[in-house]
Each structure stands twice: as C-alpha cells, then as structure tokens.
Point group: C2
Chain length 294, copies 2
C-alpha cells in the first residue's frame, strides 16, 4: 500500500515559525528539479511551482512535476525538442528577463541542480545585469541522488575521501580539452561523469593512460531515480563497448570507482522489488573493520 | 509578505498518478535533511518524517525540521552532544537494526546527503547484513546547495568543467593522508572541502605547494542556508589566519577557486536584503562571451 499525494497533503505540518520564501511579481527563481523522481523535489521548489505565473523548464523535467504548477500558470519549454535546435543560452536568459519585466513570477526549472553543470550561473549573471531580483533554489544533483537510487554511494569511507564531478561536454559539445584527465584520474578514487556517453571511449582511454586499471568498476545509469532507471555495471576498459551493446542512450551518468561494487549490497530499489543482495561484503572489508573498531 | 506553511498546505497538489513510497514497519529510510533551511528538505523526506515511528537524527538537523515529525514519533539524537563522546558508528547501526526489528518505521535523518561524507553507506551495509529493508532518500548536499545560498556556483562554464569534493577528516579525524592533495589541486579548478577548518592551514599549504596561487579566491561558509549564515571571502594564502581572526567556527564549508568571485554578482540573499551587487562582471568575461556567441 502506497499513499497517494491527496492523502498526505492534509497531514502536512503546520510548521510554527516557518515562513516560505517570498516570490514577488517580477522575480525569477532559478530552481533545481532533481534527477527525476518527483519525490526528490524540495519543499521550496514545490512552493515556487505553486506560486509562479510562468514556468520555464528544461526537457528533462518530469511531466508529473510540471503538473504541480499553479492552475493557469504558463509552461514554457526552453530545451531541445524534436529536431529543433536548442535555443542559445543568451536567448533563454533574455526571455527570463522579458518575462520578469512583464511582471511575472518566473520559475526557471532545470533538471538536477542549477549550479552543477546546469548553466545556472550564466542565467543568474544575466538577471543581475538586467536588475532582476532572483533566488537560487538548489536541487538534488543526479550525480549524487541519482546514483543513490542506483545503490551507489559517491563516497564511502573505505573507498574515497574525495570525489570529482566532471562534464564530458565543453562549450562546443566536445570532450573537454580543458579537463586534465590525468590529474582527475589521480585525484579521486571516484569520478562521476555527467554527459559523458558520447566520448566515453576517449575518456576511459585517457583515465587508463593516467594509471587507472582497465578492470576498475564502472556503472552507467540512465533515467536515474525513475521507474525506467537502468544500470549497467561494467569496467573502464569495456565500458564504451558494453554501453553500446546494451543500447544505453544519453543522457546518462557514468561513475568510475570501487564504490560501484557496493551496489552488490546496496541496490535497495532492486531489493524492494524482490532481488536478494548479491553480496553482504562487496569490498571485502568487513573483517578489517571489525579489527579496527573492536 | 511571506506565506506561512498552513497557508500553502491546502494548495499542495493532488498529484494524479503519483504514489509516495511505501514505508512499512520494520523498514529504515536513510534520509538527507539538506544543509539547514527546512525548505531544502525533499518531499520524500517530509513524507518519511510524517510516517516514521522513530527519527534517529544527527546534531546538525534543524529543530524546525524535527518539529514536522508525526505527533507521537520518538526523536532520538544520535550525534555528539555537549561534552559526551560521539557514539561509535557501529553502535548507531546496531541501534537502527534493533529499532527496525522491534517493528518501527525508522527514519535515519542526517544533515546534507547521506552518501556525501555522511557514512550512509556504512549504515546501509549494516542494515543489509541484518536483513532490514531500507531506502535511501537523497538530500541537498551542503557543498552544492549551501554554497548556492552563499551565491557561489560550484560549476560555471567560464571557470570549471570539473569540481572535486574532499573531506578534511579521515577515519581518525586527521587531515586525510590518503588524499593526494597535489592531484586534487591539479584536477579541478574548484575544490570544495568538507570538515576542513581544523586543518585549513595544512591543506592550503599543500595546495599552494602543488601549484595553486596563494592569491586564489577562497570562501568559508558557516550555517549555510540558515539566517545565521556567514561567508568569509579570503585567499588560499591567508585563509587560515583570516578564518581565525574572523572567529569562524567549524562546521564550515571551504571552497577554493575563481567561482568564488561570482559571489560579487550572485549573492542573491544579500541582494534580497538590500545590498547591491559589487560587480556585474566579476570574472571579466562579458566582452569575451559576447564575441563568442554574437
């Protein structure tokens, strides 16, 4: 038995002393919608959706989230659609400025978090330049929350004290030449790559050339946190070929590192669907921990 | 005029077709509470709070969030309090197992995200080993969402295609010897350090030794996203001394990189409080962008 939203709404807290942030006409909220699952939206984002006159959203925002907009609010799709070219970033920013100047409460709704490879900083700079008041409403970034839904912790004390997030796209849509892949490979036992599917082969080769083992575990996740979520477990050397063979399509998250092994125990979504854990000690560290803490 | 929670609750969406995740007696939800502001809680986390019989929470979870627990739910503080030593991680995990075996819906509520330096993976492994069904509910990590509230984007297209998150603590509370600070310094133009205040001087020296400029911008943020938020803008060479002089106390977030300059334009919280932006072009890239896109 799961609870429908209308059943829980009346039981939402009458939070003493908590004021929701003000959203005045002429203001813009740069808001993250999270990785997909509507339950990963924040309360502030929901509040913004209920207040906004106009919602300017990316292609990746789930329709169920958009259905929560205030009745009568205008929904504007800003991303790529069908075969049409994506509007230029500057055009999107100018559009936000126009809508705000016309006296609308404008919710700019982006997948994930607006400040994690989301170009939120560019839009915010455009708003400041135009004198438009704005707020940033952070969202769950797919590289953290999406991977959690796949049963993969981006940090784990026995694996890593650092994690690097990197984009596989640069300004021109190429594998970024400005990324020092050798340093990235050495810096963090765990590397999360956003938008890396197109150049996965090159990226993996660069990381192996920098000293990462070809056998190192890799997971590729599509539709993270949604019922259609797919997770491919592979290795650095075979990732590109395996992804192609499995028909994994972008957008996808790619994570490189031993924490991928933890999925053998921590695939909670699979376990809730009846699959037993494949291992209770996927890192082989249990005996070691007992000695250290005992 | 800000809206009180009771005013928005009746207008919450009757989301057609959206089922909230089931939370059965005997189950544990490992849940992130976000950086502080109760509005940054996710809908799933709020749902869990309203369903749970027991809430086992860290010291950093805001009391206003805890006030949203179901009336009659038991609140258990699991973190450090006053002079008492922090319970061992294994003891916390065993406690979660006991509470679940006794037939409770157990919400384990942690500041930030459970899988970003939150030891959620360890707790989850303990639950799997004990056969306790669990779910992970991601939260906004303070290194992303807390910095957004300080007006600092962790990524910005003109600054970085990669960002590294690193903890200043290791298993024994020392500056982690397992982190290759030289590689971290080289890998990412932007480095976010969690729990790094105690060893800030050493960490900054290591990064400078690895080639980062002493003049590189640094921000130190405490109480991120709360009304008591403080932000100190400094530089790598002077960060430790400036933090001490300013009386900045842990826990704090530290961010190293040119994106800190963006705060001169993007400090939206300050601007909402009436402070004008200090710069409209903090990176000096506006003319350059116009040429590239025009």
């Amino acid at each position: 038995m799961t609870a429908k939203f209308p059943d829980i709404a009346p039981r939402l807290p009458a939070a003493e002393g908590h004021d929701w942030p003000e959203f005045r006409p002429g203001w813009v909220w740069l808001t993250g919608a999270g990785p997909g699952d509507p339950g990963l939206l924040t309360l502030n984002a929901l509040h913004g959706l209920r207040e906004a006159d106009v919602v300017v959203h990316d292609a990746l925002v789930d329709p169920r989230i958009l259905s929560w907009a205030r009745p009568g609010a205008r929904l504007i799709h800003s991303g790529k659609r069908g075969g049409k070219a994506s509007p230029k970033q500057r055009d999107i920013t100018l559009h936000l400025v126009e809508l705000a100047r016309a006296g609308n409460r404008v919710l700019r709704l982006k997948g994930g978090d607006p400040f994690v490879f989301g170009r939120g900083g560019e839009e915010a700079l455009g708003l400041v330049e135009a004198g438009i008041p704005f707020r940033v409403v952070p969202g769950i970034s797919s590289g953290v929350g999406g991977l959690a839904h796949a049963g993969i912790p981006v940090t784990h004390r026995d694996v890593n004290q650092s994690v690097t997030f990197v984009t596989g796209h640069d300004k021109r849509g190429l594998a970024p030449v400005t990324v020092d892949w050798e340093a990235v490979a050495k810096a963090s036992p765990v590397v999360v790559i956003y938008m890396g599917m197109k150049h996965l082969g090159e990226i993996a080769a660069a990381m192996i050339a920098a000293g990462r083992a070809g056998s190192e575990p890799v997971a590729i996740v599509t539709d993270a946190s949604l019922p259609t979520q797919r997770v491919l477990e592979t290795s650095l050397a075979t990732a590109a070929a395996d992804a192609e063979a499995a028909g994994m399509q972008p957008p996808a998250l790619i994570v490189v590192g031993r924490n991928v092994l933890l999925r053998q125990a921590l695939d909670w979504a699979g376990q809730m669907a009846g699959e037993p854990p494949r291992s209770l000690d996927p890192l082989g560290t249990r005996a070691q921990d007992d000695a250290a803490e005992g």
